[in-house]
Symmetry: C2
Subunit: 225 residues, 2 copies
Amino acid sequence: MAQSDTVDRILDAAEELFAERGFAETSLRMITSKANVNLAAVNYHFGSKNALIHAVFARFLTPFSSTLEVAFDELEQKCQGQPPTLNQTLWVLTESAIRMPQRNEKGISIFMRLLGLAYTQSQGHLRKFLEQEYGQPFSRFMSLLKEATPELSAVDRYWRIQFMLGATAFTMSSSDALIDILDNKLGVQASVQEIAARLVPFLAEGMKAPDKLQVPPMLSGTTVA
Amino acid sequence: MAQSDTVDRILDAAEELFAERGFAETSLRMITSKANVNLAAVNYHFGSKNALIHAVFARFLTPFSSTLEVAFDELEQKCQGQPPTLNQTLWVLTESAIRMPQRNEKGISIFMRLLGLAYTQSQGHLRKFLEQEYGQPFSRFMSLLKEATPELSAVDRYWRIQFMLGATAFTMSSSDALIDILDNKLGVQASVQEIAARLVPFLAEGMKAPDKLQVPPMLSGTTVA
DNA sequence: TCAGTTCTCAAACGTATGTTTCAAACAGAC
DNA sequence: GTCTGTTTGAAACATACGTTTGAGAACTGA
């Protein structure tokens, strides 16, 4: 074989361990042990641990961003000049993520967790890498959101987008654990797809909320800022 | 002084550094340098790095959970048997957090970020510690949420609470950065209080959303699971 | 077959970490 | 002033990390 499968074994192991434990808490020795590969192989094939992290993201994000661009194209084409609705936009994103070809049964949830970690763990190099490589589809999604919510002020929209990102990143990044807890507590099985189907209307409704908080009358004596 | 201020200097430095960089990425040497304290002081006063992390949380959470219990008592008393509404419950929690006495101008945002990290960074010992020490007020909050949303099924409520937690933890944990970005982009000043005032209605509205996603007609040919 | 390249392997390197040690400095009580 | 328990200080400890090395194996193309 021209390129050994060592590279893929490393990527598989790294992906799973990073998702489980975070980046700083996962050592190269854990990765190479899990992958049944020599320690030096990581630096030989990738150059450094940071480059390995980038490669893990690139393996998923590159095909995903292509899929997404196509899906956005189709959406805009079908809408014929009309701006897509909020529900449509959110759902196209969600569906593109869900329908990505998955390497194993954990599939999407591993990657959602990695994306969540990318946000929450400082890791300056990662943020820079993601912005540089995949900033474009993200910008396009933001534009669609803007067109879908013309009634919102820029400030309102800004904050509510952050709220949406938070709910999504947080939930998806712990989706496995949350699914388990639900099963234990209520004996209900769930899937990432179902979480998404529940998340989208929650987000869409939140985006349409009335302007700002009316302090409940019973608390109106207190200062609010 | 009976107890030197070394302990507080360590806690102050640790709190700030943990919030900035996470737990694993912050070394004891960074902390003791910032605190102008000898390296060994951490292990002398706290016993271990993990115990220091616990102490950082306890310093804030212990008074906060007392405040919260009182606030919940007052709320239930005022409602005279009627279950408090969702908005009231959320706002009492928010207000209790905002009105906590703050050590400095960063105040609440530092702690929100720490709470967010506690969720997202694995740190099994921390999760166990928080559950054990502060599980009670959390359970009470959950009960109030349940009473405030009798129309929701248990499963719906479960997921939507996760969405709320996510939006809150995520936004608050990056509140400083988000406030800066908003200022740069739109020239608008904001405060943690204002974020809260915008977050509460977003969450409340999301909680009341219609049941589940109706797949948009234009996409109904696709499988949804 | 054989030269040239690509890859693997065990071992080591330098550095950073959390923790421990033990002597010195300090505090308050008598 | 001396004694006792508490706190600090500089140094070292053991361990784990990411990375590098250089020799050998495995593969490639002619």
